[in-house]
């Protein structure tokens, strides 16, 4: 009896272990790969190594590439999901080189460690387009260009929006006490958004930034840090939160302390990213303005590839168009028209 029990346990363990190892592998669209028409010379083959599918933003980003790089548009897309692991991405890029794709599009999980694989791509004569996150390499010629968000501009946009809003409220000259929930220290959205907002803040002597503290881009940490802000400072006028998740936590902390936020509340809340749930919160009157981080990079990358095909030069750094949303807009109409 004991032996049978042990046998069943061992079987279960083997199943589990096998399950783990297969889940760690990058997901590849095998069927699409096999159906690839070998004889079609006009098709442009693009290999795209995506970070993962950890958020709605990421899924909208992937979908944008899938919808632009279609066979009707003259592309063949090889899509690799790296599931948050750099080694999967390194392998994906090496596979692209072996498959002799025409272009490699890479959304790097981390900034460093790309030199050798990019040299291999360059030696093979395949142009590499970096999207969204950035890479740090010795020689910038290793990649063709970078496409993504201008976080500094997002920060400036937030500052200018606040400038206008306070003016319209007749508080342009009042003393304004602010706090900032920062993203993970050192990440590019954190640096860009903080610096961008600070550049506008410099022009206003009456704006006082009480404290910067990191909420690590997560809701739980955002709530904890906001609780701390509320206990340390009285009469906070503005909360700048560097992503939507932290904003959700901050709003909760504010409401638990018996205060209100949003257009009709005690505090002005500025947020970044503009995911659907944040726009819903804005509709409910809890967020004043949200500054978009646009995931729809597919068509821009497609334009770049077309220009490269015509042997034109392209700019090294290209920013995607981004806008903002505030509570005065028709939010339900905006949400209907958005993919994420």
């Amino acid at each position: 009896m004991k032996n049978v029990c042990a046998g069943i346990w061992i079987l279960l363990i083997i199943c589990l272990v096998c399950g783990c190892s297969s889940s760690g592998q990058p997901v590849r669209d095998e069927t699409a790969y096999q159906e690839r028409p070998q004889d079609n010379e006009n098709q442009i083959v693009v290999g795209f190594s995506q970070v993962g599918s950890e958020s709605d933003w990421r899924n909208a980003n992937s979908e944008s590439f899938r919808s632009v790089f279609t066979e009707e548009n003259g592309y063949y897309l090889v899509f690799e999901d790296a599931q948050q692991k750099q080694e999967n991405q390194l392998k994906a890029v090496r596979d692209f080189i072996l498959q002799e794709v025409d272009y490699i599009v890479l959304d790097p999980i981390v900034e460093t460690g790309w030199d050798s694989v990019l040299v291999e791509a360059k030696d093979a004569g395949i142009p590499v387009i970096i999207v969204d996150r950035q890479v740090k390499v010795e020689d910038d010629d290793l990649y063709t260009c970078w496409v993504g968000s201008d976080f500094r501009r997002e920060g400036r946009l937030a500052g200018k929006w606040l400038e206008k809003y306070l003016e319209s409220q007749g508080r342009g000259k009042d003393r304004i006490r602010m706090v900032t929930l920062q993203g993970t220290p050192g990440s590019s959205p954190q640096i860009g958004r903080t610096k961008g907002f600070a550049s506008v803040m410099k022009r206003h002597k009456n704006w006082e930034m009480l404290e910067y503290q990191s909420g690590d881009f997560t809701q739980a940490k955002g709530q904890e840090v906001m609780e701390h802000f509320l206990k340390t400072y009285d009469g906070i006028d503005v909360v700048v939160s560097e992503n939507d998740n932290m904003t959700f936590g901050a709003v909760e902390a504010i409401e638990e302390a018996g205060l209100t936020c949003g257009p009709d509340g005690d505090m002005i809340v500025l947020s970044f990213d503009a995911v659907r749930a944040a726009l819903q919160a804005m509709e409910a009157g809890k967020i004043n303005a949200d500054f978009e981080c646009n995931p729809l990079l597919g068509s821009m990358v497609s334009d770049i590839i077309h220009r490269l095909e015509r042997k034109e030069t392209v700019d090294k750094i290209q920013y995607v168009d981004e806008q903002y949303f505030d509570s005065d807009m028709d939010l339900s109409a905006i949400m209907d028209g958005r993919a994420y």
Binding site: I13, G19, S23, G52, S53, D56, T232, N245, G249, A257
Partner: protein
């Protein structure tokens, strides 16, 4: 003199002393910045609920305290740590939210299944994870860290699969209860208190606590003495899984969602640290549950204190590390021996004069 010795001789003296030391920093800071000296310790009722930094420490420290209960037992019985608890928390939250929202649904306000089904299924899965770890350690004699490494890396990924790679939001007041308020007290504090009370009662009222220590001190001798060592180790891991499950539900309810990538991230390290700060040996054997729980709240007290002092978050880990080193050093046997020698010398000098 003998009274002082009696107090300092208590096994819980050092952990409590360290926690008070951490909190005392705030008195000086508040005085220095011209505020009321006990500003940090003021607890009031605001918006109908308890409000204050002490409440924050108790509230935010709940998950670590709950995890520390299970971790203490595991460390004691198997002389090893369960590093999968953080991932199991995330897995529990994922299953619970997935059931409550329905598979593939990213956001919901209404529950797809009764609340109790989702919560119990999540906790049950956590117990299964604990049983899996326990089986590997107790019956297959795999080293605890290696055995729990499997779920450490796999549980989070399984959670992501369950949630279809999405952050599942369950914005429902009934689900919010576990991370919200019970009357005017934050529910996590109550849940942690119940867990602590139940486990310590079981350990006190039955011989289980003694059995666990005896297995931890010498597994073979315990077996010869008639204890089923394997079964006891197995049981400890199940309790550890159960506690991780409860902590996972609390963490998930706090943010009304299952954020698989972030729930319980690095919590296993804090739970192990709590056990160590509580004056327990990571080598197994004798344990002090109260010490671990005090250790857990000390960790949260450090975090909250650093916030209150306005230490910027990129420097905070450095200060945290320094404080932890000091606390561990104070509790180290050579340091104790040195203090004893010093006081003996003093007594001798006095006697000589």
């Amino acid at each position: 003199m003998s009274k002082i010795k009696k107090i300092t001789g208590q096994p819980l003296f050092l952990p409590i002393f360290c926690m008070l030391l951490v909190m005392a920093v705030n008195i000086f800071y508040d005085l220095g910045s011209g505020r009321f000296a006990f500003n940090f310790f003021t607890v009031s009722i605001r918006n109908g609920v308890l409000y204050g930094r002490l409440i924050d420490i108790l509230n935010r420290g709940s998950e670590i305290a709950i995890l520390a209960i299970g971790m203490t037992l595991v460390v004691s019985a198997s002389a090893g740590t369960d590093i999968s608890v953080g991932s199991v928390m995330s897995l529990t939250a994922s299953l619970c939210c997935m059931l409550l929202a329905g598979y593939g649904v990213a956001s919901t306000n209404t529950l797809a299944v009764p609340l109790i089904v989702g919560v119990l299924a999540g906790i049950l899965l956590a117990c299964v994870c604990g049983a899996f770890n326990g089986f590997l350690v107790a019956y297959l004699n795999v080293q605890p860290m290696v055995a729990t490494l499997i779920l450490f890396s796999a549980a989070r990924a399984i959670g992501l699969l369950l949630c279809n790679n999405l952050i599942v939001y369950v914005r429902n007041d009934a689900f919010k209860f576990f991370g919200g308020y019970l009357g005017f007290i934050p529910t996590p504090i109550v849940i942690a208190a119940i867990c602590i009370a139940v486990v310590s009662l079981v350990l006190k009222r039955t011989a289980l606590g003694m059995y666990i220590q005896s297995v931890g001190i010498n597994k073979d001798a315990s077996r010869i003495a008639g204890l089923n060592s394997e079964k006891i180790i197995f049981l400890c891991y199940i309790v550890c899984g159960l506690m991780a499950g409860i902590a996972g539900i609390v963490a998930s309810s706090r943010i009304s969602s299952a954020d698989s990538n972030n729930i319980g991230l690095n919590y296993e390290l804090d739970a192990i640290l709590a056990v160590a700060l509580g004056g327990n040996s990571l080598g197994g054997g004798k344990f002090n549950l109260a010490g671990s729980i005090i250790g857990a709240y000390t960790i949260q007290a450090i975090t909250t204190t650093l916030f209150a002092l306005g230490v910027s978050s990129d420097q905070a880990p450095v200060y945290k590390a320094i404080i932890v080193i000091i606390i561990v050093a104070i509790q180290a046997p050579p340091f104790n021996a040195w203090v004893k020698r010093l006081s003996a010398k003093k007594a001798l000098a006095k006697g000589g004069a």
